[in-house]
Symmetry: C2
Subunit: 235 residues, 2 copies
Amino acid sequence: MKLLLISNSTMPGEAYLDYPKHEIKKFLGDKPLNALFIPYAAVTFSFDIYEQKVAERFAELGFQVKSIHHFSDPVKAVKDAEVIVVGGGNTWQLVRMLHDNQLMQVIREKVKNGTPYIGWSAGSNVACPTLRTTNDMPIIDPKGFDTTGLVPFQINPHYLDANPEGHGGETREQRIEEFLEINNDMYVVGLREGTMLLVEDKKMQLIGSRTARIFRKGNTPVELSSADDLSFLLK
Amino acid sequence: MKLLLISNSTMPGEAYLDYPKHEIKKFLGDKPLNALFIPYAAVTFSFDIYEQKVAERFAELGFQVKSIHHFSDPVKAVKDAEVIVVGGGNTWQLVRMLHDNQLMQVIREKVKNGTPYIGWSAGSNVACPTLRTTNDMPIIDPKGFDTTGLVPFQINPHYLDANPEGHGGETREQRIEEFLEINNDMYVVGLREGTMLLVEDKKMQLIGSRTARIFRKGNTPVELSSADDLSFLLK
């Protein structure tokens, strides 16, 4: 299994998908591939526009991108894909459309059988067992909280250490502690912006210069870096 | 109908429920009342501890508080209440427990019939038609997104103008825009910390020195203050 699970598409001030592009290239290799793009997390802009933004960056790397909304049979599109790319946006809308199109299980099987998977933000959320560690506003009933379960732990993308000065709402860490209170056998990876997780079979490592914060009920959170072996999270 | 819908319990550096206490006193009046407290949004601390914190502040104002978890029949507890108080915490857990205990409809009826309702944070979210504008992490399936619908608009409590410097995740405004894209006939009130909405029959006003930001699909968001009449939102 090959997964590249990216925290966020873009760093402030940079071009779309710019910072992870070299890692995407290393991950996919030199062979030209046709990538299937899943733009369902887009809410305030069209799937065509989303496809175009992603296709531009992938073309630069030597890969073709076609969005799933052009296929009359989305299940077949997944089955035929050489690469699956799931973009960010609103996780709830993404999960709803994956459920409505009956894609959750077929993506799972396809990727378990070796097709590379790239996701960022909401696209990383849906690689987890459920959407329960999303940051997004629940704008629509997803018709089920379960997602693909490609990895057995939860990712919190765009992980953030502190609230803006003077804001009294829960911090991200407090929100994750609430999650663990109810889901006490799960790991949660707080994946800071500018970082990503690379999974290759039973191995996992962090890519990026910032550490990831690993949470589990009853344990003090730990900070692990790109020098650490994160494979224990896959068990 | 009498509602006091508070953005957040506490301002940084102040005692619990300190800033809204004078408004709570004005709202409830001088007669000693027995308030029913609903602590279900608590996740990382006990209902007993939550009750104690709230009861202390209410005692200072001349009101008795008893938490619903002490009653063997929670539906009857709501029916008998003189005041209903719903505290903040995790909205998902709160909604799940309100559904599990079949309280959504009975609270609605009771408050529609004149029993005063006070909520803060998650407790304000559940006064709306759905939980779809909560900021909380979806740590548990709520078994239905609908809430009491005491007001016909959505509140986003702890409304926040900007992300921390350098953070690329969606701003609160972007999240609300996503909500409106799918729910295009709804008003959303961005209720900043330190402010609250007072509803008395068909009248609504904002209390606090900061403005509220009012969103509706297709309209530029507007800032309204305590000097404005917000009653149009009740229609």
